[in-house]
Symmetry: C2
Subunit: 277 residues, 2 copies
């Protein structure tokens, strides 16, 4: 089968888009398309240029024997700002306050398209070089954590709140959950994670930071380094959290009558520093 | 900005690939690219043709005022067979049997690329016309359920094993879990789902079908119709399951010393009937 240039470009874009941060060798494509390496190099240059011009993320070429081409799902500053503004409005526009003052967020944080965008934003602001695992805790953060792991092309691990017999020997800790004020347990199967690994922690919501502090402590038990921590929403109060150095995409003022939510300025500025998209 | 044809094609493929089953109007693209409708129609025909020739799924055009172009992530019979074979080998090749006879599957069922493929396969064999929600139960099925929801472009709902205060008023049932043999509870917040909806149920593993039976019963409580049920792995014993009419991608013989796993022939054949890819 002989493909035309624009057909090859279509196929290259499809494959790269479906596998963010995966490196494909040029031979992978030359064999697939039955085409010369020089022709394919020109194709790749064209793909690079359209991603750049249309702000669709970045396509990079890696020289050398283990080289190839890779798609990095970076999001532009404007897109991040618009997305976070839209989500903020969605959160505060409707009748979302549940008994106990909790916000109903299920329709947002389980939405496949929304969590895909959240994943790309985390991948645009958090440095995931040499990170071995993306770790979350059940349940509500799992969809956004999976999409972040997909964007970064690193494996996902899920901390369980009860040790499960079907996962083998586990290592666990107890922690105080800020939401319920009770002592709870969290654990991870021993064979999930290797000593000396580096991980990124992702969760959907942080008030005092008790759960994330527990996740940090559990990583310490595994002798694993936390490279970065990301949350979708953090509350303005308490100002003092139990962990430092986290990336929060949205800020929430719970004292405000209308549950005021807004994009975190620091995140928006981080984008321009990193990428100049 | 004036784009060349192959640049427009690159951009169209990127946007369609990232949003399976979402219909984009032609005006969406003509405005984005500042191009004539006739030119864009030719672009779309080229995109259709490359997806077909390279077996990258289907691109369809919908005529009329509410029409446009849509990408359907159908997988070819060969690709499904090869993928399920690879996963089967992976499951039985390593030392995966845990105390109690359970299989260690975390590294497979939390892998972002693997669950993305599983999602595309479920979307290729299950009819999701007029389906309102994709429903799963915490925890291990969530990644594959999310990716299936993404492929089908329908919202995800997650049944909780304990009612959570932060999700508002819930409707719950008790059920007997085959894995532990104990009576457990499962529930879903009332405002998650509307009476009269149609849903698809997805879970990672089925032995007797107790959990899935519970999910069916819970849907009945909500007056919701189950359109289809999909699981990644079902065991050969017991032959009689507590539910009928489910799609199982893999079959597992637990009596076999080496935990023999193989692709479900019915699934493979289903693909050829539906698609002729």
């Amino acid at each position: 089968m002989k493909l035309k240039r624009n057909e090859r470009i279509g196929a290259i874009v499809k494959i790269l888009t479906e596998h963010p941060n995966k490196t494909f060798t040029l031979s992978y494509f030359t064999e697939k398309f039955n085409t010369a390496k020089s022709t394919l190099s020109e194709d790749v240059m064209l793909v690079k240029s359209v991603f750049e011009r249309m702000k669709l993320g970045r396509v990079i070429t890696i020289p050398g024997a283990s080289g190839g081409v890779r798609y990095i799902p970076d999001v532009s500053k404007d897109e991040v700002y618009n997305f976070l503004q839209t989500i903020s409005k969605k959160i505060q526009s409707e009748d979302r306050v549940l008994p106990g003052g909790f916000l109903y967020l299920i329709d947002i944080i389980y939405d496949p398209d929304i969590v895909a965008s959240i994943g790309n934003i985390f991948a645009s602001v958090i440095d995931y070089t040499n990170v071995d695992y993306l770790v979350t805790i059940e349940t509500k953060g799992i969809p956004m954590a999976l999409m972040t792991a997909k964007a970064m092309n690193i494996p996902l691990l899920i901390i369980r709140k009860n040790s499960k017999i079907s996962e083998g020997s586990s290592l666990g800790i107890t922690y105080v959950s800020g939401t319920s004020g009770t002592v709870q347990t969290m654990s991870l199967p021993r064979r999930n994670i290797k000593e000396g690994s580096r991980v990124i922690l992702i969760d959907d919501f942080m008030r005092g930071g008790g759960t994330l502090k527990g996740m940090h402590d559990l990583m310490k038990e595994f002798k694993v380094e936390v490279a970065a921590t990301g949350v979708l929403i953090s509350t303005t109060k308490p100002e003092e959290k139990m962990i430092d150095n986290y990336f929060s995409l949205l800020e929430l003022d719970e004292q405000s009558v209308k549950n005021k939510v807004w994009p975190n300025e620091k995140i928006i500025n981080k984008i321009s520093e990193n990428l100049n998209l």
